[in-house]
């Protein structure tokens, strides 16, 4: 399978006041299309930063970050935004649903931002919603949903536009064991049944075992695949 994510000698330095913080110190990692990869490491090891760089939310300080053949390092902010709209779906630890929209509204918003015409996203939405088991909850606002339901809505929002890559930042971090298992099984199903490429970061090795491959990180370095 072709490489969909290729990261080589990636460095990311943040300036905090007068201090430079080296979040990533020459990371090398790649993800094949259709893979489900977990990046595991303790808090502060740089895994979130790695995810955000790959997702185009921030620019690399140096190194190569290629996503579906496109070099993120050569892109300006507008181009990275475009790429994110076309090719990436995000799932966050805190769900990050818009509170003033219903579950359906949150999912439809992603389609709207991606420029998918009204109704065109419907078939994809229907199949994802069915698979995630949230058909009955679509007209509820996030405040009326449980944590597990909110995360499933967030996943639906992330995949409704059929992104090349799903980036999941500690997707079970705010969930109990039961809901965590539910969400992880759904991510696994998305990968197995729909061929969705998933890159997930987590500090919990028990979460990482749901993926095909585990990459360990520490102190801004990848330790092993």
């Amino acid at each position: 399978m072709p490489e969909i994510i290729h990261v080589e000698h990636l460095r990311k330095i943040y300036r905090l006041g007068k201090v430079d913080v080296h979040a990533l110190r020459g990371v090398n990692v790649s993800v094949q299309e259709g893979e489900f990869v977990s990046i595991v490491g303790p808090s502060g090891c740089g895994k979130s930063t790695l995810l955000y760089v790959i997702g185009g939310l921030t620019k690399p300080s140096s190194g190569i970050v290629s996503l579906d053949g496109e070099d993120l390092g050569q892109m300006n902010e507008a181009q990275r935004t475009q790429m994110r709209k076309r090719k990436i779906g995000f799932v966050f630890q805190r769900f990050n649903l818009l509170p003033t929209l219903t579950a359906y509204g949150n999912i439809a918003l992603a389609a709207h931002i991606a420029g998918i015409k009204n109704g065109a996203h419907r078939s994809q939405l229907d199949s994802v919603v069915k698979m995630l088991g949230i058909e009955e909850r679509l007209q509820h606002h996030p405040g009326e949903l449980s944590g597990g339901e909110q995360q499933r809505v967030a996943i639906a929002r992330a995949v409704v536009t059929r992104p090349k890559i799903l980036l999941a930042d500690e997707p079970t971090g705010n969930l109990d064991t039961e809901n965590s298992e539910l969400v992880l099984n759904m991510l696994h199903d998305l990968n197995q049944k729909f061929g969705q490429t998933i890159l997930m970061i987590t500090h919990n090795p028990e979460v990482a075992i749901y993926s095909d491959r585990i990459v360990n990180m520490r102190d801004g370095h990848v330790l092993e695949n």
């Binding site: 955000y52 921030t58 935004t81 475009q82 995000f90 966050f92 990050n96 818009l98 931002i113």
Partner: protein, 355 residues
Amino acid sequence: MRPVRTLVSITAVAVEVILIIMVVGLTHGILQETARRTQGVGADIMVQPQTTSMFMGFSGAPMPVQIGEKLAQVAQVRAVAPVMVQMSSTSGITLIYGIVPESFDAVSGGFRYLEGHGLESPDDVLVDDIFARSQKVHVGQTLTLLNHPFHLAGIVEHGKGARIFVRIDTLQDLMGALGKTSVFFVKLASPDDTRSAIAAFEQLLPHYQIRNMQDYLSLMTEANVPGLTDFIHVMIALAISIGLLVIFITMYSTIVERTREIGILKSMGASKAYIVNIVLRETAFLTSVGVGSGIGMSYLVRRIVMHSFPTINVLITGDWMLRAGLIALVASMAGASYPAFRATRQDAIEALAYE
């Protein structure tokens, strides 16, 4: 959801619109009312000194009354009425016409008396019904004007020049302008004779201002009132400032509160233009509601003003309602532009982490 903040924004825009509509309405209303009442005298031609202000009452009484006799001799003339115009600050700013009752009746067709009778004695005064209602006066009462007690002899229907009428000789005496007048109102045998009559008057009185009534009325615009246009512009600028600043503060605080939402939108691939569009659409919605409320409330304010001050006319036109709405919209967009710009500059990662 911030209902109070939303209400404040809408109210600010409404106040902005009300201010514009009322200031313009008041100035235009007063001008229109003045023009209408001057036209109501029924004259075809007005004769005034060359340097006189078109707003009678500002220029005193510099013309000898005898000029009227010369005017009356012109063939086309049916009647000439000398009128001395004096401004009074009693009960607001109002004009007093000093008239010769017989000649004024000949030009105007006479008063329609709602109460009482005409100017029979030197200290008699007539007021129109609007003045009487606003000042709550009745026939028989004493009215102090220009520090002189007058006897209210009659209440007449409004619309013939001023709201207060006294005998011209009494007014001349009070103002120390014996034998003088401010203006001659001339009634012609036929309105078709206007041009020829004016030509005759100009030959007779080459250094006087001679206008037909239509020309005079066409001058009743804000452009011909010194400083009025500037005043209107200043008030509009003030109104704009209110709307712009409140919208700025509202949208700025909205953007700050929704920092995380902006981060979420950015993570979904929302472009800067998309985010700006959201902010400006919300602003446009608030402004639209504010404009609608402002226009509606302008009518209410107008009603209150005209009920409380019957002598004041407020003219609300569709043209200025539209302008006020557009001004408010532009001001709101300007006020929201910096918050919208700031929203696009939010770092997505920091925004996502915002509590």
